[in-house]
C-alpha cells in the first residue's frame, strides 16, 4: 500500500501493544502436562490445534492490544501518497539587469561567485539535489515587470533567459505567482515577505557600485557612498519618424534636448539609439477624425489603422486608445526604446492646456527611454540582502486538506475506540 506517515514519531506508540502482547504470551503460555487420556480431550471441541492455541490470550487482552495497535497507527498519521511519482516545479526567473550584476559582499566587494544570477542558479541546483525525487522544471521569466509564462520544459535554464531585460518592475506583481510547486528565482524578496505557497531562491548580495543615471555625455555614479559625476558618455539619439504629427514631433525635440539626446534622421538600429518614436503606416488611408486624450489633455486627429502586431518583438503596451465603431483602436503603443503613434496631422489640441499635454507625453517618453549602457536605477544597485532558499509547498502540504489523509486516521481512531469498548465489555463478562 502506498502509505506515508505525517507524524512518524507517533509510531513509537506501537511499542506498548508489542510489549503487552509479549508479556501476555509469556504469561499466557499454558502449563505443559503429560496425560494418557489426551484422546478423550481431543474429541471435545473439534477445533484445530492452532485455533485453540490462539485463544491462550484472554479475549479482553487481545481486543486491548488491537485497540492499542490501531491507536498507535493513528498517531503516526497515515495517508495515501499522491500517485504522481515526479513533481514539476514552475521556475520563474527574474531577468532584470540587476540579476546580471556581479555578486558582492555587504561591503560592496565582489564575492568571486559570479553574477547574482549565477549564484541564484547554483542555489537552485542545490535545492533540486536535496529533493528525494528531482522535480521536473518548467521555466518562465520576468521581463520589464511582466511575467512571460513561457513554461519551457528544461532541466537547465534556457539560454534565451540569460539575456538581461529592461530595468524596473512592479514587485507586487510577483504575488500573482504565489502558488504551490512554483519557485521564484531573484536577488531579493520581491514582495518584502516570503510567499505563502511558492518557494524562493534569492541570491542576495551587497550593493553594486556603478552609474545610476545619464544626461547627455555625463554619468552619475554612486561610489563608496558618494555621488560622482563623470563625463565621456557617448552621445545617444532619438529617432523621429517622418509621419509623426508636427506638434508631437516638435515636443519630442524639446524633450530630447532636455534629456541630452541628439535627433537622428534614420533608424540605424544601433545601440546609440535611446528611443524610436515611429508613426503607424496604413495602406487603406486615413480614417475620420476622432477625439481622444488622457491625463487632462484632449485632442483630435485622423486615425491610422494598425495592422497585426509582430510576434517576434515584445508585445507593446497601449498607452492611448480610442473606441471606433465599437472596437478599441490603439493610438499610442510603447515598449522600452520604442513608441508608436497611430494618428496624424492635422493634430489639434482641444484642451487648451499645453502643460498637461507636455507632462503626459514626457512621462511616456521617459518610461520608454532606454537606459544608457551600464546605467541601472539606484534601486537595482542597492543591497539585495541575505541569500535565502526555500522549497515550494506541495499541493498536499496541509495534512488536513490532503485527499485521503484523515479518513485513514479517522478509521483507525474509530477502530481503536470500538476495540477498547469491546475489551472493556469482554473484561466485564469474564
Amino acid at each position: 500500500m502506498n502509505l506515508e506517515w505525517v507524524h512518524p514519531t507517533g509510531l513509537w506508540a506501537l511499542v506498548l501493544p508489542i510489549v503487552l502482547a509479549l508479556l501476555s504470551l509469556r504469561r499466557g503460555k499454558p502449563s505443559s502436562l503429560h496425560l494418557g487420556t489426551v484422546r478423550l480431550w481431543r474429541n471435545l471441541t473439534g477445533e484445530s490445534e492452532g485455533a485453540r492455541v490462539r485463544r491462550h490470550l484472554p479475549l479482553a487482552r487481545v481486543l486491548l492490544i488491537g485497540a492499542l495497535v490501531a491507536g498507535g497507527l493513528a498517531l503516526g498519521g497515515p495517508r495515501l501518497k499522491n500517485p504522481s511519482i515526479q513533481m514539476t516545479w514552475h521556475v520563474v526567473l527574474d531577468t532584470r539587469p540587476t540579476m546580471f550584476l556581479e555578486h558582492t559582499t555587504e561591503e560592496g566587494v565582489p564575492s568571486g561567485q559570479g553574477t547574482r544570477l549565477a549564484v541564484g542558479l547554483r542555489a537552485l541546483e542545490q535545492l533540486l539535489e536535496e529533493q528525494n525525487t528531482r522535480p521536473a522544471l518548467r521555466w518562465s521569466r520576468r521581463i520589464s515587470g511582466l511575467t512571460r509564462l513561457d513554461r519551457i520544459a528544461s532541466e537547465r535554464v534556457p539560454a534565451a533567459f540569460l539575456v538581461p531585460g529592461p530595468s524596473g518592475h512592479a514587485r507586487s506583481s510577483w504575488l500573482a505567482l504565489d502558488e504551490p510547486h512554483t519557485l521564484w528565482v531573484s536577488d531579493s524578496m520581491p514582495s518584502g515577505s516570503l510567499p505563502e505557497h511558492a518557494g524562493v531562491v534569492l541570491s542576495g548580495g551587497g550593493p553594486v557600485p556603478g552609474p545610476v543615471a545619464s544626461v547627455g555625455d555625463r554619468l552619475l555614479s554612486m561610489r563608496a557612498g558618494e555621488w560622482v559625476e563623470e563625463a565621456g558618455m557617448p552621445m545617444r539619439f532619438l529617432f523621429l519618424d517622418e509621419g509623426l504629427p508636427t506638434r508631437l514631433a516638435s515636443f519630442a525635440k524639446v524633450w530630447a534636448g532636455e534629456r541630452g539626446l541628439e535627433i537622428a534622421d534614420s533608424d540605424s538600429g544601433e545601440e546609440s539609439l535611446a528611443l524610436r518614436l515611429v508613426a503607424a503606416r496604413s495602406g487603406s488611408g486615413s480614417l475620420p477624425v476622432e477625439l481622444f486624450g488622457r491625463d487632462g489633455w484632449q485632442a483630435s486627429a485622423p486615425l491610422v489603422e494598425v495592422g497585426e502586431e509582430s510576434d517576434s518583438a515584445p508585445r507593446p503596451r497601449h498607452w492611448l486608445s480610442a473606441e471606433v465603431a465599437g472596437e478599441v483602436w490603439p493610438l499610442v503603443s510603447w515598449r522600452p526604446g520604442w513608441v508608436r503613434v497611430a494618428f496624424g496631422d492635422p493634430f489639434e489640441d482641444r484642451s487648451g492646456d499645453p502643460g498637461a499635454f507636455a507632462v503626459s507625453w514626457a512621462d511616456l517618453l521617459d518610461r520608454a527611454l532606454l537606459s544608457a549602457p551600464g546605467v541601472l536605477p539606484q534601486g537595482e544597485r542597492e543591497s539585495a540582502g541575505p541569500a535565502t532558499t526555500r522549497a515550494p509547498r506541495s499541493r498536499s502540504f496541509n495534512p488536513e486538506a490532503a485527499p485521503g489523509a484523515w479518513p485513514l486516521v479517522r478509521w483507525l481512531s474509530a477502530m481503536a475506540g470500538v476495540l477498547l469498548f469491546a475489551s472493556a465489555l469482554a473484561l466485564k463478562s469474564t
Binding site: H34, L35, T37, L40, H56
Partner: protein, 315 residues
C-alpha cells in the same frame, strides 16, 4: 529371574533420557515398600489358613476340576497322567486341575510411556500392585511370572521376593508398545490360571483384553489412572504444582506416546465433557468385565497399593 540383571540401570537412564520430560518414568521401591509388602503378604497367609480351615478353596480354586492338559515332565505323579491322550496321541500328558492352574500366575505390566504420567506415577503404582499380587501368590505357593515389555521374571519361593523387587525397580515407562502390543505378539503359557493385566488399558481394545481368556483361567484387569487423568481440574494439578488449578485456565496436554500437544481450556463445559467421556469409557470396561466374568478394578495412582491388591484378590 530377571532376564537382564545387569542392564537395569542403563535401561533406566536411557529411558529417562528418552522420556525427557515425562514426570514419573521410573519406579522407586524403598524399604518402606518392603515393610508394607511383608505385612500384606502375612495378611494373605493368615487369610489362606482361615479359608482352608473352613474347607473352602478360596484363592486357590476348587482343586479337583480338570481344566487343561500339558506335556508330562519326568518325575511327575503318574496318577495325573491323561490316559486317554496317551492312547490317542501316544505321548504322555498330565491333566491339570484347577488348583494347579490357579497356582500359575502371570502378571503383565504396561510399561509404555503413558505409564510415566503422574504424579504419583502410574508405573510406580503398577509395580507396587504387581509386587503385592506376586507376594500374595508366592505366599500361597503359586508360580509367578512377571512380564513387562520384552522382560520377564519368574519366581516361586518367597525368598525370590528381593529379586522380584529389583526387577520391578528397573522398570521404566518408555516407548509406545504397551499391553496391546503384548497381546498381539506374545502369549502366556497355557497353564496360567490367573492372568493379570496391569496398566492404564488406554491403548487396549476390549477384544484384545479378552484375547487371553481361556476356560479355567481367571482374568484380572487392573486399570490405573493418574489423579490428573481422573480429576484434571482439582487434585490432579494440585499434586503437580502444589496449588489448585483455576477453572478457566489454559493447559497444554502432551500425549507421552504420540507427542501430540493439545491446548485446552479447563472451563466448566470442557471439564464436564471430558469427565463424561472418561466415565463412559470406564463404564464400558466395567460392563465388558462383568459380561465376560473378568475381574476389573480402577485405581488412582495416588491410592495405597494394598487396597488395590486386596480389591483384586479378595472379591
Amino acid at each position: 529371574m530377571p532376564d537382564h540383571p545387569n542392564s537395569g540401570s542403563q535401561r533406566k537412564g536411557a529411558a529417562a533420557r528418552q522420556a525427557g520430560e515425562l514426570p514419573c518414568p521410573t519406579v522407586v521401591l524403598g524399604s518402606e515398600y518392603l515393610k508394607r509388602l511383608e505385612r500384606l503378604s502375612l495378611r494373605f497367609a493368615a487369610g489362606l489358613e482361615r479359608r482352608e480351615g473352613a474347607g473352602r478353596a478360596g484363592l486357590l480354586g476348587s482343586g479337583e476340576e480338570f481344566v487343561n492338559s500339558r506335556p508330562y515332565r519326568p518325575g511327575e505323579d503318574l496318577r495325573q497322567l491323561d490316559w486317554d491322550l496317551l492312547a490317542r496321541l501316544d505321548r504322555p500328558y498330565i491333566r491339570v486341575s484347577r488348583r494347579e492352574a490357579a497356582e500359575s500366575w502371570s502378571l503383565w505390566i504396561d510399561t509404555s510411556a503413558s505409564m510415566g504420567v503422574g504424579p504419583p506415577g502410574k508405573l510406580q503404582m503398577a509395580a507396587e500392585v504387581a509386587g503385592g499380587i506376586a507376594a500374595a501368590g508366592m505366599q500361597v505357593g503359586a508360580r509367578i511370572e512377571l512380564v513387562a515389555g520384552t522382560r520377564r521374571f519368574q519366581a516361586r519361593k518367597l525368598s525370590d521376593i528381593g529379586q522380584l523387587v529389583e526387577f520391578l525397580q528397573n522398570l521404566c515407562a518408555e516407548g509406545s508398545e504397551g499391553l496391546a502390543t503384548a497381546v498381539e505378539e506374545s502369549r502366556p503359557p497355557s497353564q496360567v490360571g490367573r492372568l493379570f493385566l496391569i496398566g492404564d488399558l488406554l491403548d487396549l481394545e476390549h477384544k484384545q483384553a479378552l484375547h487371553w481368556r481361556r476356560p479355567g483361567r481367571e482374568l484380572f484387569w487392573i486399570q490405573i489412572l493418574a489423579p490428573l487423568e481422573l480429576r484434571p481440574e482439582g487434585r490432579g494439578r494440585s499434586h503437580l504444582e502444589g496449588s489448585t488449578s483455576q477453572v478457566g485456565e489454559w493447559v497444554e496436554w502432551v500425549d507421552p506416546e504420540g507427542g501430540e500437544r493439545l491446548s485446552v481450556r479447563l472451563d466448566g463445559s470442557n471439564l464436564a465433557a471430558y469427565e463424561s467421556n472418561l466415565e463412559r469409557q470406564l463404564e464400558t470396561w466395567q460392563s465388558m468385565a462383568a459380561r465376560h466374568g473378568v475381574s476389573h478394578g480402577l485405581f488412582s495412582s495416588d491410592s495405597p497399593f494394598e487396597s488395590a491388591v486386596r480389591a483384586t484378590l479378595e472379591p
